[in-house]
Amino acid sequence: MAARMGRMLTSRTLWRGVASILIFLVLWEIGSRSKQWMAPEMFAPLKALLGALGFKKDYLPWIGTVPAPSGVLAAWLEVVGSAGYWQSWYMSFFRVMGGFVAAMLVGIPFGLMLAVSRTANGIFFPTFEVLRPIPPLAWVPASIIFWPTQELSITFVTFLGAFYTIVINVLGGARSIDVRYFQAAQSMGSSGWDIFRRIILPGTLPSIVVGSAVGMGITWEVVVAAEMISGGGSQQAGTGGGLGFFIWNSYVGGSYEQIVVGMISIGIAGYFSSELLRWLGKYVTPWLRVR
């Protein structure tokens, strides 16, 4: 373990990653401050050039309007102690996990059923394929009407975000299992439940892992948008309603630094969710990490 940590600290990949993030932050800071720095007279020709190109003249295009990382850090330090900020984290995480776990619990058996049963496939697949192209966000209004609480409606929309991806991946994965595995298993006297448990299930696991990882990404996209549209459960006064609502609230309140704080928080939350899934994925498919 210690040796592994040591190798990690000396690995070029790690330092490249650190350098990449640092350079990004520095360029961002420079871009944001360009408005102040470009005030002196010597920048007049450059400003004129930018103006001729159609940009506002007193700062670098686009990036000049974005709050600087130093400002964002200051804003983050301000909110990091407040319960509302962590409440937003908690609520978004809760909804993502709720929707995602529900999507796994329903999607994996459903996908497997579509794969193994021709009858089930005939009955359910056409409807599934008609509903699948509907973007989860298009479900927001209907979902608010259908479900008794706002919490449930947001969770339902995040569920949809992951559900279709998981089902399609499970179905595709189960279908692409080499026919020789079935033939070999049958020859050796295996059938029915035994084939399902020892061939189909492990054969589909890699696709389940991939489908879940993609589904998790979509879940984060969906939860934030759903929170923004639905007002994030604003009836719970004073606590805010998820990171999406945190961003929206900051926008309405005119705190641009806080918008970026919210965005980065989502980035970090998404990263940790994916890491967790990757780790779980490796754990359940040990035969793939050998070589």
Binding site: D178, R180, Y181, Q183, A184, A185, Q186, S187, M188, G189, S190, S191, D194, R198, I199, P202, G203, L205, T285, P286, W287, L288, V290, R291
Partner: protein
């Protein structure tokens, strides 16, 4: 079920005999169907190693699916010891081209797949599994996944996975295809020793004439599509066989020439009918003839 004496790790081998009579297999819709195998008749003799050789794409794999029971013949019968073959069963086990080891199971779990599926895991079976692991030299690789094994090890693991079920006939579909030349030759010696020791009926399909002559007791030379047996060559070379002996043996070369001339004639006939597989075969044959 046969009784297994508790002391012996190895269950008694009961070699079977497969009789194929007038088998035709066609694919495609009625009226436009195409015969892949037509009126094919041969016997896989009890306790012998029968090798089937024919140009690639000549319908050998179709025949194997019929023997294994994955498919039914359009007409004709396949019988094992007088009983018609109606579906896949552990008494006719297939070792596939490339490898069909389950990638998500370790060597040991792969080998025990059959007994576990049938709920026959007893002390004797576990002893037999150990015996087989030793036999195929994979004792140290029992907890490795197939991806961690070399090509040769994978084939050996697969032989063990088939043998633990003590089938009456083992069917091998170009099992050593894709191995490098050295490994392949090692596998021939290795496999023929296994067959000699077990006395089991083996049916081995290949496109490689050297492999065929080295391994076979009887050689079935096949025609192009639709598949039929063109000739049966008895390979009366002494056992145990070694590669070095085979290279120097006049009798082995004679048999090889005999089989090749039949294959050649067959290819020429198909070539005249414009078969692409035959063109490939003629090219390969001419290369080999020049080398000899």
């Amino acid at each position: 079920m046969t009784q297994v004496s508790p002391a012996a790790a190895r269950p008694t081998v009961q070699p079977g005999e497969i009789v194929v009579t007038g088998v035709t297999k066609s694919y495609g819709a009625a009226g436009r169907s195409k015969d892949v195998v037509r009126d094919c008749t041969f016997t896989i003799e009890r306790g012998k190693l029968t090798v089937m050789i024919g140009p690639s794409g000549c319908g050998k794999s179709t025949l194997i699916r019929l023997l294994a029971g994955f498919e039914r013949p359009t007409s004709g019968t396949v019988q094992l010891d007088g009983q018609p073959v109606t579906g896949p069963d552990r008494d006719r086990l297939v070792v596939f081209q490339e490898t069909a080891l389950f990638p998500w199971m370790t060597t040991y779990d792969n080998i025990l797949y059959g007994p576990r599926a049938r709920g026959e895991v007893t002390r004797e079976t576990l002893d037999f599994a150990e015996f087989l692991l030793n036999k195929v030299g994979l004792q140290e690789f029992r907890n490795k996944y197939p991806l961690q094994l070399s090509g040769g090890m994978q084939r050996r693991a697969e032989l063990a996975r088939a043998m633990i079920n003590n089938p009456r006939v083992m069917v091998l579909d170009e099992p050593f295809r894709g191995l490098d030349a050295m490994t392949k030759e090692l596998m021939w010696e290795y496999y023929s020793r296994l067959v000699e020791e077990s006395g089991r009926t083996n049916f081995f399909v290949t496109t490689d004439i050297d492999e065929a002559v080295f391994l076979a007791d009887r050689l079935l030379v096949m025609s192009n599509i639709p598949t039929q047996v063109r000739a049966v060559v008895e390979v009366d070379l002494p056992r145990p066989r070694r590669l070095t002996d085979m290279v120097e043996s006049d009798r082995a070369n004679e048999i090889k020439r005999e089989a090749l001339s039949i294959l050649h004639a067959e290819a020429m006939r198909s070539f005249a009918r414009g078969s692409k597989a035959a063109a490939d075969f003629v090219e390969a044959y001419l290369k080999r003839a020049n080398r000899a």
